[in-house]
């Protein structure tokens, strides 16, 4: 192993695992992709990894556990499988970055709270909608307290796999809890819509934020612009379609100003098509989290308390 690299592995050779593989090869940072493990020897993900000269295994987590040099494992399997993997990885002292909805470890959104969890053994990436919208709710709540936040995520039908479709309730719960726990909203709601348009639409998110009281619009604009730049650092296709607008709306708390942000996420097209920004933001966030963990392991990152 190179002294300045941390060995990492991808568990799961489906679409997400394959897209993450390309991202790790294109921008490895302090990581070295040592292994891609799946359970289907005929999967396209494993075939592509082999072509690229990366070690593969169709034996699931076993090959990862057998290599003590692998320190960080990205789990792109399923929530059910991750429950088992989380235990095995923890017992063998590996850091797990969980892209499934299993939520065995704390929720992380890289530019918001990852610094607090660099000592965690397992972190969870919430949902694609959460990765897209929590940063913007947080950008408001760090300037002015937020009474209520709501996000509406619209994704192309073709980018929503069976996992999302069979767990659509979990998407709404988990995303709403993330907007509260990490975004800083006192109360939140999440809505997801699948759009079957041809050609497929880019991932779109609308974020409504209602502050507790009066707020400084310029300070909010600046904080939001800074956060968009921070996310663009690891998701280049992350952009607001307009500056945040403020509309007065009837709410259970009376007629109140509501900040409305219209966000578009275009994927990098590493393996998945560019319209699937919802999948891209998950793999891009995973790569970013891995990079920060690896740097921390190498002690190259100053951690501020």
């Amino acid at each position: 192993m190179q002294a300045d690299k941390v060995k990492v592995a991808i568990l799961g050779s489906g679409n997400i695992g394959a897209d993450l593989m390309y991202k790790l090869l294109r921008q490895p940072g302090p990581m070295e992709l040592a292994l891609v493990a799946g359970i289907d020897p005929a999967s396209e993900g494993l075939a592509r990894a082999r072509q690229l000269g990366i070690a593969t295994s169709a034996n699931g987590i076993e090959a990862i556990l057998a290599d003590p040099e692998i320190r960080i494992v990205f789990d792109a399997t399923s929530a059910k499988a991750h429950v088992r993997h989380a235990k095995l990885l923890r017992e063998s002292g590996r850091i797990a970055i969980d892209l499934t909805p299993a939520a065995r470890g704390p929720y992380v959104v890289p530019p918001v709270n990852l610094g607090e969890h660099l000592r965690a053994a397992n972190v969870n990436l919430i949902t694609c909608g959460g990765q897209a919208t929590i940063p913007l709710v947080y950008a408001v709540s760090r300037v002015t307290p937020v009474r209520y936040a709501e996000m509406v995520s619209t994704v192309a039908s073709r980018s929503a796999g069976p996992g999302t479709r069979q767990n659509i309730d979990e998407f709404t719960f988990t995303t709403a809890r993330g907007l509260e726990a990490i975004g800083g909203a006192r109360e939140a709601k999440a809505i997801i819509i699948l759009n079957p348009a041809h050609p497929p639409i880019l991932m779109r998110n609308t974020i409504y934020v209602m502050p507790e009281g009066d707020f400084d619009e310029v300070a909010v604009q600046d904080s939001v612009a800074q956060m968009v730049a921070d996310v663009q650092h690891y998701v280049p296709g992350y952009r607001l379609k307009n500056l945040p607008v403020v509309e007065r709306r009837a709410t259970p708390w009376g007629e109140r100003p509501v900040i409305i942000m219209l966000l578009e996420v275009e994927g990098a097209g590493d393996f998945l098509p560019p319209y699937a920004g919802n999948l891209d933001i998950m793999t891009a966030a995973a790569r970013r989290v891995g990079e920060l963990f690896a740097a921390y392991l190498l002690k190259t990152l100053e951690v501020t308390a």
Binding site: Y148, E150, V152, T154, S157, P162, R165, Q166, N167, I168, D169, F171, T172, F173, K189, I191, I192, I193, L194, N195, P196, A197, H198, I201, R204, T206, Y208, M210, K241, N242, V245, E247, R249, A250, T251, P252, V258, I260, L262
Partner: protein, 343 residues
């Protein structure tokens, strides 16, 4: 043709023009009148279904669970139904609605996305509910695609699957072909839900009945999204003339429309220029009031917004795109005005 089962959805689809402000008193009087007039199913919930109360769609004045409870306590014969859209409402709200008195749930998905409803049908059946599947925006896909999607809902446990003309965009032949395709593909019942944006609410419902529909929807005084739905009292009169009255009191429903619903309506839904544009452009009927508001706020003709939403292939529930389109159009107008003045 046989006498269809009628579901009245004044207290659900009518929630849109009421801006979700129904009160317990209004629900009590409307349910009593419908129940006495022999309407067998009454739907009550936020216009966008359970948990629809939001900034995106508008907040409810009174919790829909309280309204469901009121409806239940004022219905002697009628069953109480609720609508839910997976992605907005969840199994948690479905359980609460059952605890407060619903006996029927109508589970709605975009007409291409039936497979998001499997969990919800499963729970509904476990809880002993009668289940109806709603294929929304059904004008955007041909009959054979809808039949495939309907079969998925049937396999999850739907007792009936509806063709839902959410945009009021169908012509009678479109409605008939879609109902017929479902009748041929399914062994469960088939329903049809109309909107009146092109003035075809009653006409399309009749075409659906001729094609074999078992269930239909109406709203008193047509109180529903867009130009409203097929009016319940009008359906009762028409069915009676056809010799297909399923036991509805025609005069009783006319009185309910005239004396109970008309006085509380903020306006009479009607195919005015904006509502016609919804049918013409094929967009979701509930966009009407949101497009009017955004048009006023950003200085754009609501019709332009609606046509652009149709071009972008917006589907049910995408009210947030209205702001996006209004901002884009207002910027485009400002840019072309600048160009003109600079010449």
């Amino acid at each position: 043709m046989k006498a269809p089962r009628l579901t009245d959805t004044t207290l659900r689809d009518g929630s849109h023009p009421m801006r979700h402000q129904f009160t317990r008193e209004q629900v009590a009087s409307i349910v009593q009148a419908l129940d006495r007039a022999g309407v067998p199913v009454i739907e009550v919930s936020h216009g966008d279904g359970l948990a629809g109360s939001s900034l995106q769609y508008g907040f409810s004045h009174t919790s829909e669970f309280d309204l469901i409870e009121t409806a239940r306590s004022h219905a002697e014969r009628a069953k109480i139904a609720a609508l839910m859209l997976p992605g907005i409402g969840t199994r948690q709200e479905l359980k609460e609605a059952v605890a407060r008195g619903i006996q029927v749930v109508r589970i709605a998905t975009q007409c291409t996305e039936a497979d998001v409803s499997e969990q919800h049908f499963g729970l509904a059946k476990e809880l002993g509910l009668e289940t109806v599947g709603f294929l929304m925006m059904a004008h955007i896909r041909p009959p054979e695609v809808l039949a495939e999607q309907a079969k998925l809902m049937e396999s999850y446990g739907a007792d009936c699957v509806y063709i839902v003309d959410s945009a009021g965009a169908m012509l009678p032949a479109d409605a008939a072909a879609r109902v017929r395709a479902l009748k041929e593909a399914l062994s469960v019942q088939v329903g049809f839900h109309a909107h009146n944006n092109l003035g075809l609410g009653i006409g399309n419902t009749l075409a659906a009945l001729e094609a074999g529909a078992d269930q239909i929807d109406g709203c008193l005084r047509g109180l529903g999204a867009g130009a409203g739905n097929a009016a319940t009292e009008l359906l009762a009169a028409v069915l009676d003339r056809l010799g297909l009255n399923p036991g509805l009191d025609v005069f009783g429903l006319m009185d309910a429309a005239e004396y109970i619903v008309a006085p509380i309506m903020p306006f009479q839904p009607f195919p005015d220029r904006d509502a016609i544009t919804i049918g013409y452009a094929g967009v979701y009927s509930t966009f009407l009031l949101h497009a009017k508001r955004a048009g006023a706020q950003y200085g754009v003709d609501p019709r332009e917004i609606l046509v652009e939403l149709g071009r972008r292939q917006a589907v049910a529930g995408q009210e947030d795109w209205i702001i996006d389109v209004a901002l884009d159009l207002s910027r485009r107008h400002a840019a072309s005005a600048r160009k003109e003045t600079s010449v």
